[in-house]
Structure formats: structure tokens, C-alpha cells
């Protein structure tokens, strides 16, 4: 038996684990006791991380569409057809008719190569990935406010906080190892304020739980800032020396008195005052947030409001302080860092800058497009309207994971050519013209970047099944077929190129990536990496406070649709369930889709635990079992989106945040009907 040290494939925590390999198969997994963050612990998904790898459903050979069917093909046939189709579209309709969705599940190297292929070989900046639906507002919001759109501290540092404000994050279920550090901070005396419409486990353990109406976050956050300034709990020296825009920001926030904020958000004024004094009095305050903040049509504003709060209280740049966006995929941070975004190259170097382009043109020896491309949903809209003709989707399942399923399906079906690479057949591969079988995380080498900016190795433990290949291999092959250069002997080689072109990764190489990995920025070969950002200055000098105003969410409950529907995840499943629903123990925990409803609402409607109900919105409807949950407030519904048999995103809409282009996934007006038994 061998034990291969690698990084977990699920959420952004980036836990260190060992895959147990016996006779060429993965037989188990266990935590790394030396890992700087996870320290010998894992969540249940991590303990089961290797379980899906040898599943018989794995895609084992390339497939090509013939009529209604997908027929086995050779790699050469599949890639030749892909190259020919993409070149044909490019010639006839121009490069803007092509797009690439990369994968937050892929490695840094693969994301880098894909964005390079999109730009250098296809000639388009239409490259994006699932960050658009999770932390695009963080990249935009924190990027503007602080100069870097990533977690400012390290997860372990939460243990030194005095007060932790947790907003829109069901941390014990979605980022259990972050929760572990929060719980330890709590047992050392830190105060917890949890803000969530649902009474989550962490809310039960918190000193204060605020339950605002969905989509009203700007109002209560502005209110906290207002109270903190009024009560003289602001860090005046920090504001003066390290920020700009305070006066305008305070002016905007001062309209949000506790009473006004109570009126908008439904949070009692007294609780807002209490929260402000807990956070304002803390000498080390930290803000932890996740999808409950970002997946809103005003996501970028909410992120900015939180940044304003952290800056006004001087809670950035020290141990135990900072802003902790929790990213949902193990490498969604890395995919952003690698420039799998329509407006930036690797390291957030903007494509519209002639100097930046010149550097990449010289390195890649190819012409590069200068106009920022389309974001993920914009690409689908373009496909719907017929202006986007060819799309490559790598390791994503947008039919289930993107909002408004029927519209996504229609858009994908309308494409002239769709290629999908994945490890399992999905609802999206079913629509493809070419399907490529990918190696999973246990079958290839590379790096992932965790939510605390920690670049870590992922290592090959077993061979991929059948003819499946590591994605970096076929990306290089396809890039060459498309006429651009891609000569790499290994993922380590790719990392060397990334380091040469990406200042924040400049000092990173495989030789340096030991058990602790390296936290970017790591600009030079002798740089130890950066655990805490913005210690003495922000990348653009001063941090930017920006006034933000509350605007009503696009949908609110009405007579026809009286419930407020929120979507999210369960502890036991991940995303569209392709991996966890094939992990027997996890699937046993939550085998069927469900909707959570407040017991009082349920009683009024004659609904019991397990009653079949139909949840409807203006987009569609799904049939699920009801689960009575005390934690769900009256008038609210919670629906997890893992289940293809009851896809939550059949119900969600595509209202976009004007800045970050994220969709409003947390607020939909819905109604509920009892189904005939």
C-alpha cells in the first residue's frame, strides 16, 4: 500500500490528505496531520474524497455525436473534429463566436493552458468559469476596495480573533474546516455574530444571530458602520492613514439608522446596535462570508459594504482580522488567478492594457484580443441569440449549476458546436457534439490554490480509467491543432511559465511546494509567501471606501408567489452531485432532493416531513419532499441544487449584478403546492 499526499477536491478549504492506494486502486483517504490549515482533520467529504475515483460510470473514451447518440471515438478523431469545427466557426463568424468555460475543479496549469488556448489560438477573450456564479463580486468588490480580490488573512489566523462576523455562510456545512477554527476561536472567548436568514448550526452557537430578509444586506451593514462611527468605535488612525473615500461613504451610510435598517431588513434595531458594539469593540475583528453575500444582483455592493466595515474598524492587515471570502471549489481561487476570466490574464493583469498584452504576445508568440470578452451567462445569452456558435466546456455542468435551467439548455442546444470534457457523464455532456474523458484529481499532477491563497500540489495516485487523459495533455494537443504553440513536458513546466508571466506567482515552482505549499503573493524565488495581505500598504496605496446604497431585490414575494426561495448546498453533497452522489456513504446521508420549510408554514398548508410538494417560480417547477426545518424562517424556502431529478436552478432567474455579472441565486419568489400522494 502506498499513501499519496495530495489536496482535497471539494471545497475551497484546501485540506491536506493522503490517498491510500493498494493494487492500483484507491482504497481510502486520511488527513495529513502536518497540514498548516487542516492539521489532521477532514470533513466527511474529505474522508470520502477518493471514493468516486474508480466508479464504473466514469467516462473512459472520447465520444462523438452521431444523430441522437454519442459514439465511441479515438482521441485523434475527437480532437480533429473539435479543431476543425472551431476553426470553421472562427473563419466564418470570427473569434467572438467562440467561447471557453474552464473548470474550477481543474488545476491551475489546466486553467492557464485553457485561457491561453482561448486567447492565443482561438483569438477570443470569451473565457470564464464558475467563479462568475460564486465569487465574481468578491474579485470585483475586494479588488476595487483593497486592490486584491482574495482572502486577506489565513484561515488559522481566525483563532486569534476576538469577534467574528459570519455573513451568508453555513460554515459548519460548507467549509467545515474553517468552522473548526471559528469554533476554536469561540471556545477561547471570541464573540460570534452570525447573519443568515436560516438559523444554521453556527447561528445556534453564536452570541448573536441576525436574520435579515434576503437581499437586504447593504442596509444592515451600512447601519452597523453608521452606529460604529456614531459611537466612536471607528479606527480613526487607520481611516486617516490607510483609506480614502470615508466622508462620502459615511454620508451614504448615515441614512441607515437602526430603525431604518430594521424597516428594510427586518432585523430588530436593538440587535443591530448590539452587533455594532460587539464588532466595533473588538480589537481583532474578522468578517467571514460566502454565497449568501455574493449571489445577489447587488453582490458587488454587499462585498464593498463589508469591506467598508472592516476598513472603518481598522480590521485589515493583522493576525485575527481581515475579510475571509470562503470560496466554494477547491481551485476556484486558482482558476481566477490563472486568468480564466474575460477581462484579465493570469494574476489579474488586465487584457485591455497594451503593456500587459505586449508581455504575453512576446512570451506566447501570438496575437491577443484586446477587448474584454463575455462572462459565463453572457456567453449563454450570445448562444441563445445565435452570435456565439462554438463552446468548449471543461469540467462544468451548467445545465444543473447555472440559473434558469431551461434557458441554459436551449442556449447549449442552439450551438453549432459544443465540446465538453468531464470525468462522468452529466446533463451537459448529454448535449455535446464531442465528449472528452478526463482524468480526475487523483489521476494527475498539478496545483490547486485554496481560498486562503495557498498554492498546493495535487499528485497522481492512480492511472486514469480507460483512455481518459489529464486535461492539460489534450489542451496542449488541441492548442497545437489550432495552430498555436503548447510544448510542455509536465505540469511543472507549465507552472514555470505561469511564474514567469504572473507576478504574484513569480516565486512558485514545484520544487518549492512542500507540505505547507506557498501563499501568494510570492513574487520571487526566495520569497516565503504571504500569510496576511495589506500589512503596511494596499496594492494601490490606500484602500478605497465606496458609498453603497440599498436597492430592492428584483423579485420579492407577492400574492402569486408568496414564498422567498433560497438555493444552496448540503454538507454531504457537492455542487451538481456528479462525485458525491456516486460516493455511497454521502449519497446515503442525503439520497433525495428536498425543500426546507418552516414548520409553522408547513402546518398551515397541511405539509408534513416527507410530503411531496411542488415548488414553482416564474421560470419553472420541481417536485421534491418537504423537510420541516426550525432554522428556516416563516415565508422562506431552502432548496439545495445538487439534484438533477429536481434541479433547483430550474427555478432561479438570470438577473445579473451590473458589475460582476453574477446571477441572483438567493432570492426567487416562489409558491408551494402539495402534490397528490
Amino acid at each position: 500500500m502506498e499513501k499519496v499526499i495530495t489536496t482535497c477536491i471539494y471545497c475551497g478549504c484546501g485540506c491536506g490528505l493522503l490517498l491510500h492506494v493498494d493494487g492500483g486502486r484507491i482504497v481510502g483517504a486520511s488527513p495529513s496531520i502536518t497540514h498548516p490549515m487542516s492539521r489532521g482533520s477532514l470533513c466527511i467529504k474529505g474522508w470520502m474524497a477518493g471514493d468516486f475515483v474508480g466508479h464504473p460510470d466514469r467516462l473512459k473514451s472520447p465520444l462523438i455525436r452521431q444523430g441522437d447518440r454519442l459514439i465511441k471515438a479515438t482521441w485523434d478523431e475527437a480532437l480533429a473534429l473539435t479543431a476543425e469545427s472551431l476553426r470553421g466557426i472562427q473563419k466564418e463568424f470570427g473569434p467572438q463566436a467562440l467561447g471557453v468555460l474552464t473548470s474550477a475543479k481543474g488545476t491551475n496549469e489546466e486553467n492557464y493552458l485553457l485561457m491561453k488556448m482561448a486567447r492565443a489560438a482561438l483569438g477570443t477573450n470569451n473565457v470564464d468559469h464558475v467563479a462568475r456564479l460564486c465569487h465574481a463580486p468578491t474579485v470585483a468588490g475586494l479588488g476595487f476596495a483593497l486592490g486584491s480580490g482574495a482572502m486577506t488573512g489565513s484561515i488559522f489566523s481566525l483563532q486569534s480573533s476576538d469577534a467574528i462576523l459570519i455573513v451568508g455562510s453555513n460554515t459548519t456545512e460548507q467549509h467545515p474546516l474553517v468552522a473548526s477554527h471559528i469554533l476554536r476561536a469561540r471556545s477561547k472567548g471570541a464573540k460570534l455574530i452570525v447573519v443568515d436568514p436560516r438559523k444554521t448550526r453556527l447561528a445556534e452557537l453564536a452570541d448573536l444571530w441576525l436574520s435579515p430578509r434576503q437581499g437586504t444586506d447593504v442596509a444592515w451593514i451600512n447601519c452597523l458602520l453608521n452606529i460604529i462611527v456614531q459611537r466612536d468605535l471607528a479606527d480613526w488612525q487607520f481611516i486617516k492613514e490607510r483609506t480614502e473615500g470615508f466622508i462620502e461613504t459615511l454620508q451614504a451610510a448615515s441614512a441607515y439608522t437602526a430603525e431604518k435598517a430594521e424597516e428594510i431588513s427586518g432585523v430588530p434595531a436593538a440587535d443591530l446596535v448590539k452587533a455594532a458594539s460587539i464588532f466595533g469593540l473588538a480589537s481583532r475583528g474578522a468578517i467571514v462570508y460566502a454565497m449568501g453575500v455574493t449571489q445577489h444582483v447587488r453582490g458587488t455592493d454587499i462585498v464593498q459594504a463589508l469591506a467598508n466595515l472592516a476598513l472603518v474598524t481598522g480590521n485589515v492587515g493583522r493576525e485575527g482580522t481581515g475579510i475571509y471570502p470562503l470560496r466554494g471549489h477547491q481551485n476556484v481561487q486558482g482558476a481566477c488567478d490563472m486568468g480564466a476570466l474575460p477581462n484579465v490574464l493570469s494574476g489579474y493583469q488586465v487584457v485591455s492594457s497594451p503593456q500587459v498584452r505586449a508581455k504575453f504576445v512576446e512570451a506566447w508568440r501570438a496575437q491577443l484580443p484586446c477587448e474584454p470578452g463575455l462572462t459565463a451567462l453572457e456567453m449563454l445569452w450570445a448562444a441563445e441569440s445565435g452570435s456565439l456558435k462554438g463552446l468548449i466546456i471543461v469540467g462544468e455542468n451548467p445545465v444543473i449549476s447555472y440559473p434558469h435551467t431551461s434557458r441554459v439548455q436551449k442556449a447549449l442546444k442552439g450551438l453549432e458546436f459544443l465540446m465538453v470534457s468531464d470525468i462522468f457523464p452529466t446533463e451537459t455532456t448529454a448535449l455535446a457534439d464531442v465528449v472528452l474523458p478526463a482524468a480526475c484529481f487523483a489521476e494527475k499532477d498539478g496545483t490547486f490554490t485554496s481560498t486562503e491563497r495557498r498554492v498546493q500540489r495535487v499528485r497522481k495516485a492512480v492511472d486514469p480509467p480507460g483512455e481518459a487523459r489529464a486535461e492539460w495533455e489534450w489542451i496542449c494537443d488541441l492548442t497545437r491543432r489550432l495552430g498555436a504553440k503548447a510544448e510542455y513536458s509536465s505540469p511543472g513546466d507549465v507552472m514555470d511559465e505561469i511564474a514567469s508571466l504572473t507576478p504574484s506567482y513569480g516565486g512558485i515552482s514545484y520544487e518549492r511546494l512542500g507540505p505547507d505549499g506557498l501563499q501568494w503573493p510570492c513574487p520571487t524565488k526566495d520569497h516565503p509567501g504571504t500569510s496576511i495581505l495589506h500589512v503596511s500598504r494596499f496594492p494601490h496605496g490606500l484602500a478605497r471606501l465606496r458609498p453603497v446604497l440599498y436597492i430592492d431585490p428584483p423579485e420579492t414575494p407577492d400574492e402569486d408567489y408568496p414564498f422567498m426561495l433560497t438555493t444552496g448546498r448540503s454538507l454531504y453533497h457537492f455542487h451538481t452531485g456528479t462525485m458525491t452522489r456516486r460516493t455511497s456513504l454521502l449519497d446515503r446521508e442525503v439520497p433525495t432532493p428536498f425543500v426546507e420549510i418552516n414548520p409553522e408554514d408547513a402546518r398551515l398548508m397541511g405539509i408534513r416531513d416527507g410530503t411531496k410538494v411542488r415548488v414553482e417560480t416564474r421560470r419553472g417547477s420541481v417536485s421534491v419532499e418537504a423537510r420541516l426545518a426550525e432554522g428556516v424562517c416563516k415565508g422562506d424556502l431552502f432548496l439545495p441544487f445538487h439534484f438533477s431529478e429536481a434541479p433547483a436552478n430550474a427555478l432561479t432567474a438570470q438577473y445579473l449584478d451590473p458589475v460582476s455579472k453574477i446571477a441572483e441565486l438567493k432570492v426567487s419568489a416562489a409558491r408551494l403546492k402539495k402534490e397528490a400522494p
Binding site: M1, E2, K3, I5, G16, L17, L18, H20, D22, I26, V27, G28, A29, S30, P31, S32, I33, T34, H35, P36, R39, G40, S41, L42, C43, I44, G46, W47, D51, H55, P56, Q159, T172, P176, L177, A179, S180, L183, R184, R186, S187, K188, R201, E204, L205, G514, P515, L571, S584, L585, R588, E589, D609, G610
Partner: protein, 338 residues
């Protein structure tokens, strides 16, 4: 048979054994010590691997047999079981194996377990360097091996005092005959002294009855609110042995036995959806109940060997040993990173 093996000769002994069977030993890795197939890697006999050696007898996931359908008839094939030498296991793990032997040996005996058990030789290393989390002494599971094994080693400084207890143990020593020196009375005196020190280094207030008392006092619902339902305590426990069976693949495939955990809600959920252990607190209580009440009743032995691994791996702030929801202070964190 008794002998003395100078420390620097240990790899030579393992090298000699490696030709005869798969040698599993605790090697030093970047992720801490781990039991793997020894192929010349540096041995780490000081640290205790987090993943216990019992996974070689009761794998996390094991194919009980393969089934193949041909012309409407099924044929079944069992997998080959490798002969293995588990080297350098601790007395606590050995005691866990003795417990598993009793549990799986009850009528009808568990054939899958005993196929592996019979093909396994055990070399135990007496524990002269217990970790901060260890309390085997209170449960009479260590630091000196008392359960049947093939060969017993004690690190007495510059070498190992080797005591073969079975014919297999003698064969193991004979494989390295030229490396051995005679065992001297001083070696035995040193062994006694070191083990006495190890006993004294461990807390003595954690016996079965003391933990039972803590269970009486514990606020299980408060503990349950902290529990993150990761199942880690079951997965690192050398005594935990619950499993789940599933058939993977149609029409051909494998019948798999996978580890399971009573910490998970689905473990006790009934078909109709009701659950007799509905809350994490009830499940946590059950975990202790099994170890300190039920297993003793069935086997006569406490179902905990005091290895403290559950404490090391628990992501919650629960002190798994005294059952208090208290901080595992910074000191503990760094200790886990030994």
C-alpha cells in the same frame, strides 16, 4: 527467542523480510508518519500514524468478491489476499486487533476479516514515547504489549530488545540472524525502566469507569452542537469496525465492504425515515456507549485503547477524552502538527 538488534541494522532486517512478504511499516512522510509498504523509506517509530494499522485487516474499502455475468449465469471470484507483516505497530493497536479478533470471531466468524488476519504477521513496538494525547495506561492497553503478537520490540536507546513469541516471530528474527546480538540482562532492566517512565508520563485518570462517569455528566446536546459530523473519530479509531455493503456495477461488478460511522445520521436512519438517534449529540453518546458499555459486555474488553487519535482528528472544539466542550488550546494545535 530473545535478541538485541542494533538500531542501524533495522533497515537490513526489513530488507531481508521484504523478499518474503509485503512489509508494512510506519514511514516518515511530509504528511506525518504513515503505515505503507516499506520499500526502503526512512522509518518513523517515534510518531504514531493517525491512520491506524487496523486498515490492513479491515480496509476502508474492500472488494469481498467480483461478480461476472455470462449467458445468464453469475460466477464469483474472491480477491487474492497478500501476506503481510505489520511492523512497528503500537501496543494500543495490537490491543485493538485483539478486540477485533473477538468481535469478528463470534459465531459466525467473519471470513473476510480472518482471511486477512491469518495472512498477517504482527511485530509490535513497545511504547517508550507516548504522545500527549495518549492514555492507554488507564485502559490497560499499553504501553507494554500484553496481547498475542509474533514479535515484540522495545527501543532501549541504541537498539531494540527483540522477543519472539511465536514460531513466525522466530522466523522473522532468523531472517536477520546475522544482524542480531545476544540479549543481555541489562537490556531487560532498561526495558522495564523505560516502560515504567512511559506509564508515568501518561494521565492515570482515564480508566473505563472514569470515562463512564464523564459520560454520565456530559451534556450531550451541547457536545452535539459542536460536532461537525465528519465521522473522523470513527475513521481513526482502531476499534471502530462498522461497515456497509454495496454492489457496484451492473451486470458485472464488485461487492464492496466500506467503512461506515455511527456518527453519520444515515447509519441509524430507518427505512421509513425515522431515526432513533436523530441528533448529533445522541449519535456522539452512542459512539461512547458502544465503546464503554456495549463492547465490554460482549467481549470483556473496553472498546477504547487510549490511543487518543479521536482527539487529534476532531475538528470541533470537543475534548474527546474528558468530553468537555473546551478549547483545544494553541498548544494542542501545534502538538497535532508534530
Amino acid at each position: 527467542m530473545k535478541a538485541f538488534l542494533p538500531k542501524h541494522k533495522l533497515p537490513l532486517l526489513l530488507e531481508a523480510l521484504r523478499g518474503q512478504m509485503e512489509v508494512i511499516a510506519p514511514v516518515s512522510t511530509d504528511a506525518g508518519p504513515a503505515f505503507v509498504t516499506w520499500q526502503g523509506q526512512p522509518i518513523d517509530l517515534m510518531g504514531k500514524p493517525l491512520s491506524p494499522v487496523t486498515e490492513f485487516l479491515l480496509p476502508h474499502k474492500e472488494a469481498l468478491f467480483t461478480y461476472v455475468q455470462e449467458a445468464g449465469r453469475y460466477t464469483f471470484k474472491e480477491e487474492m489476499i497478500p501476506s503481510r507483516l505489520l511492523f512497528g505497530i503500537r501496543p494500543c493497536d495490537l490491543h485493538a486487533i485483539a478486540l477485533l479478533d473477538r468481535i469478528f470471531g463470534r459465531e459466525p466468524p467473519d471470513q473476510a476479516y480472518f482471511r486477512r488476519r491469518r495472512a498477517t504477521a504482527l511485530v509490535v513496538q513497545n511504547c517508550t514515547s507516548p504522545g500527549k494525547e495518549c492514555f492507554c495506561v488507564g485502559l490497560e492497553a499499553g504501553p507494554e504489549a500484553k496481547d498475542p503478537c509474533d514479535l515484540q520490540l522495545t527501543d532501549i536507546g541504541d537498539g531494540f530488545l527483540c522477543q519472539a513469541e511465536t514460531p513466525v516471530g522466530i522466523l522473522i528474527l532468523n531472517a536477520g540472524r546475522v544482524l542480531l546480538q545476544p540479549a543481555l540482562p541489562e537490556h531487560f532492566q532498561e526495558k522495564t525502566k523505560l516502560l515504567q517512565e512511559a506509564r508515568r508520563a501518561m494521565p492515570r485518570d482515564r480508566s473505563c469507569s472514569q470515562i463512564r462517569q464523564a459520560m454520565q455528566r456530559a451534556d450531550w446536546e451541547a457536545l452535539g452542537r459542536e460536532c461537525l459530523s465528519c465521522g473522523g473519530c470513527s475513521f481513526v479509531c482502531p476499534v471502530c469496525h462498522c461497515f456497509n455493503i454495496l454492489d457496484l456495477g451492473v451486470p458485472d461488478g464488485q461487492r464492496l465492504r466500506c467503512r461506515d460511522s455511527c456518527i453519520l445520521s444515515g447509519f441509524s436512519r430507518l427505512t421509513g425515515g425515522a431515526n432513533p438517534r436523530r441528533t448529533p449529540g445522541q449519535r456522539l453518546r452512542h459512539w461512547y456507549q458502544e465503546k464503554f458499555e456495549d463492547i465490554p459486555q460482549i467481549t470483556g474488553l473496553t472498546g477504547c485503547v487510549g490511543c487518543g487519535r479521536c482527539h487529534l482528528t476532531c475538528p470541533a472544539a470537543i475534548n474527546r477524552v474528558d468530553l468537555s466542550v473546551v478549547s483545544r488550546l494553541m498548544g494542542d494545535g501545534s502538538e497535532a502538527r508534530r
